[in-house]
């Protein structure tokens, strides 16, 4: 039988979890070249909301935690290959179409747009199933010549830490809002206007007529068969595997980066005073479990 037993109610556990959740910050970036176009992104996010349930099978279940994008900046670069006049057939050939054609005079080139997608991408942690794990962490400042008690007195004691150790993390696929099409269309339109900036109005109108509907033009260049909304969704969820990166980052964070609860070893019982030295007791063999009502910590002294 353990020397010490402590219990944390479900309500208190929820408050401890809220601290863990609110401290989560994640940022990453990546870019890929897809031939006719390239895409890069840079994201930063935090977590909010959600619910936590303690189970009798010694597991914890976290559900419906929102992923809040602090920034989600993409960069899409593509070539404008079709802004040409000329190229028509001057000497037709009834057998193979054209014997001689005039050259094309083209303008255009690469353009890049940087849509801010933070307002139109939605995702959340659907479900985290976890057990509690207690880890003994040696403070890096604790030297070999220092006793545990001296380390505690010097402000860098070793610690016992309770982590939420996920069995699985399931993040919902990133959902792209329907306004993505309009956003991309507007940005490409603006980029084309920037290219044509110094050109007279009749040239702008001619080029835009040749381009036709901008959305169709972009989709043709990017090889999008469905909608830009679906294309972005596939890009982030699968091509960049942002979903997988998030699941890994969340699992690693819960399991080892920010503890649910921690205490020093040796554990201070009485401070120094009245000519007496402080009293602290060493904690050993810590076990942490949950049931549907509370988290239970058990340990030995010695």
């Amino acid at each position: 039988m353990s020397h010490l037993t402590a219990a944390v109610s479900e309500n208190a556990f929820e408050q401890l979890f809220a601290l863990v959740r609110d401290n989560f910050k994640y940022s990453t970036s990546d870019s890929k070249n897809f031939g006719p176009f390239s895409v890069g992104y840079s994201v930063a996010l935090h977590l909010s909301g959600g619910s936590i349930t303690l189970n009798n099978d010694n597991t914890v279940e976290i559900q419906n935690v929102d992923i809040d994008w602090d920034s989600l900046q993409a960069q899409i670069c593509l070539n404008l290959p079709q802004l040409c006049v000329g190229g028509w057939c001057i000497v037709p050939d009834p057998f193979d179409g054209c014997w001689v054609s005039v050259p094309k005079w083209c303008i255009g080139g690469p353009i890049c747009i940087g849509p801010d997608l933070s307002g139109i991408l939605v995702s959340r942690i659907h479900d985290v199933k976890a057990r509690l794990t207690c880890k003994y962490v040696i403070d890096p400042l604790h030297t070999s010549t220092e006793s545990d008690l001296e380390a505690e007195l010097n402000g860098h004691p070793n610690k016992w830490k309770v982590f939420i150790d996920p069995v699985w993390v399931h993040v919902d696929p990133i959902d792209v809002g329907a306004t993505a099409d309009n956003l991309i269309e507007k940005l490409v339109n603006d980029a084309i206007d920037a290219i044509l900036g110094p050109a007279p109005g009749f040239i702008k109108d001619l080029i835009k007529a040749i381009i036709g509907p901008v959305l169709g033009f972009i989709k043709a260049i990017l090889g999008i068969a469905t909608s830009i909304q679906d294309w972005l969704s596939d890009l982030f969820n699968h091509q960049f595997d942002l979903l997988g990166l998030l699941e890994t980052a969340i699992a690693q964070y819960f399991a080892a980066k920010y503890p649910l609860y921690e205490w020093p070893d040796p554990y201070p019982i009485l401070p120094a005073g009245a000519g007496l030295i402080p009293v602290a007791i060493p904690i050993r063999n810590v076990a942490c479990t949950v049931n549907s009502a509370e988290m239970v910590l058990q340990a030995d002294v010695g």
């Binding site: 339109n189 920037a194 900036g197 835009k208 509907p213």
Partner: protein, 236 residues
């Protein structure tokens, strides 16, 4: 990740759109001249613009299958050798200035970018100095002059070498259409006969529609912008 900024204004060559005159004897962007060299052999060409002069070579081979060879007069570069050293040989070994075509093909002269004003003369190499087989300032029967006009408005059209030289055609180029449900494709080229007269004299073109002059008698064709229709830029 830093979002790159590109100087997009560098991508547009405004000289393409600022021309008011299109002259078969002073070749520039948006026009092309086609000539068929039916007689196989070695030809030597000279392209001039103001004081600039470029030499190039053309081989017409009876067994050559190409139907078209494009010669960009703006990229030929100046003649390398001057004075006592013949300038021909260095160009002959330079792939960028030596072209080949079959006797049924067309040589197409054009200017990819820059100022207009090029003229081209070509003669058989073995005939030395003398009258040339082709002179772009006086197109002959069978030659073609192609123009792609982009600035909407009214143009005068004239063959300055026609007898009398007074006859003047009128060309109207429509303003670009509004953006529709599909991308705009200009209609096929409009064809005009340039002989003793221009036929037809009234020409109506859609935006960016091609225009071909089929030369049937000595011609130097000049189109001058008379009244631009720059319109008012539409909203996007």
């Amino acid at each position: 990740m830093k979002v790159e900024e590109k100087n997009m204004n560098q991508m547009i060559d405004l000289s393409l759109f600022n021309q008011r005159r299109f002259d078969s004897g002073a070749i520039g962007p948006l026009v092309a001249i086609l000539h068929n060299f039916a007689d196989p052999g070695e030809y030597r060409g000279v392209a001039t613009r103001g004081g600039e002069r470029s030499i190039f070579y053309l081989t017409v081979e009876s067994n050559h299958a190409a139907s078209q060879v494009n010669i960009d007069l703006a990229s030929l570069g100046p003649a390398r050798a001057t004075g006592a050293q013949p300038c021909c040989d260095c160009a002959k070994t330079d792939g960028a200035r030596h072209f080949s075509i079959g006797p049924k093909g067309y040589v197409l002269f054009y200017v990819s970018t820059g100022a207009p004003g090029f003229a081209v003369q070509i003669g058989k190499s073995d005939q030395g100095p003398g009258p040339k087989s082709f002179d772009s300032r006086a197109l002959q029967a069978g030659d073609l002059f192609a123009v792609t006009l982009v600035r909407p408005g009214t143009y005068s059209v004239k063959n300055t070498l026609s007898q009398g030289g007074r006859e003047r055609g009128e060309l109207e180029l429509a303003y670009p259409p509004r953006v529709g449900k599909v991308a705009y494709q200009p209609p096929g080229p409009f064809r005009v006969q340039s002989g003793k007269t221009l036929e037809p004299l009234k020409i109506k073109l859609q935006a960016a529609q091609g225009l071909v002059f089929e030369v049937t008698a000595t011609s130097r064709l000049v189109l001058d912008l008379q009244k631009a229709n720059d319109g008012q830029r539409r909203s996007r």
